[in-house]
């Protein structure tokens, strides 16, 4: 509401001047509205865009025999089990390796990935084999561990029956 405020008459009967008027605009409703909008937009806005992890799966080869098998000394297998457990072994499953069970904590699989056996062997390939009972979080966590420990050579591989039997036999 605009209001015109007249300047108080000075009382002296001087010359008739044009009365000076200062226009005051009551801005309160406008400010109310502005802050209402401000609050609305501040609360509805989504600033954080979700993070993503890029993964590149190998292109399927036309002929499976073109692939060269990994040597036993260059292979590590990590099996993602049920109930957030990790089983891992070095070498190949045919050699009946020792299966060790650990977890996703900082002292678990991360310590394993940082052992000299993996770190100081540039040909070491870490094979990640999730079991049917594992959940999506396990997969993301293990990929994350690969990133944290800067393990470059790893692959997601389907689990084999031999691996499943090995896990079963350890229970």
């Amino acid at each position: 509401m605009a209001e015109v405020q007249e300047k108080a008459d000075s009382g002296k009967g001087g010359k008739k001047r044009a009365k000076k008027m200062s226009v005051h605009l009551d801005m309160t409703p406008m400010v109310d509205l502005a802050f209402l909008l401000l609050t609305f937009f501040m609360l509805t806005t989504t600033f954080s865009k979700p993070q993503t992890m890029e993964i590149q799966m190998p292109v399927k080869p036309d002929n499976i025999e073109d692939l060269t098998p990994v040597k036993a000394e260059n292979a590590t297998t990590i099996i993602l089990g049920e109930d957030d457990k990790i089983h891992y072994y070095f070498g190949l499953v045919d050699d009946n390796p020792e299966l060790i069970t650990t977890d996703y904590s900082a002292n678990g699989i991360r310590k394993v990935l940082l052992t000299p056996r993996i770190r100081q062997n540039p040909k070491m390939v870490v094979m990640i084999k999730p079991m049917e009972g594992s959940r999506y979080k396990n997969m993301v966590d293990i990929l994350d561990e690969m990133k944290i420990t800067d393990t470059k050579r790893f692959a997601m591989v389907d689990i084999t029956q031999q691996d499943k039997d090995l896990v079963q036999s350890q229970k």
């Binding site: 509805t44 979700p50 993070q51 890029e54 993301v140």
Partner: protein
Amino acid sequence: MPRVKIKRSKPTLDMTPMVDLAFLLVTFFMLTTKFAPDDAVIVDTPTSVSEIKIPESNVITIAIDKDNRVFYGVDGQQTREKLLDKIGQKYGVSFNEDQKKAFSLTSNFGVPVRQLPGFLSMGIDDRKKVNQPGIPIDSLNNELSEWVWQTRLTNPQVIVAIKGDVDANFTTINKIIKTLEDRKVSRFNLITDMEARPTSL
């Protein structure tokens, strides 16, 4: 002695700078805001140390909720309209104009193609209440594969993002990854939440 006249003027506060600031902020928020899309499911994503941000447009989002239902979404209203036409032709399902319009405004959905016309005819509020069964991803009836393929034909720039729930089963995720590989999508993104990188190894 003349009486001292008290000026009877209301105390006024000059609100102009405050208003300036308020409107500046309103303008800022109005222009930068991007409303959170109305997702069909709540997906609790796992955390990772990855710091790559997902692009704002041309993204296919495949969401998997904790009950292993699969939801499909792609951004861009025009892309969605064209996509629906193609899928309709492919499966012999016809959609009317209202349903097409409704589809172009749906950010993601989880119903098989046959049930899609019925789903799209519902009001927005009813659609939220209905229990969506998820998109079939079985090897016999893999509709997800068709959706991804047709979307890529419609908009070749799309990238695929998988937004899985923490408790989603790996078997389902694996099926989706295999589906994508069959469609020659070997690079894709996993949507995660932020997590601090450990300072020492």
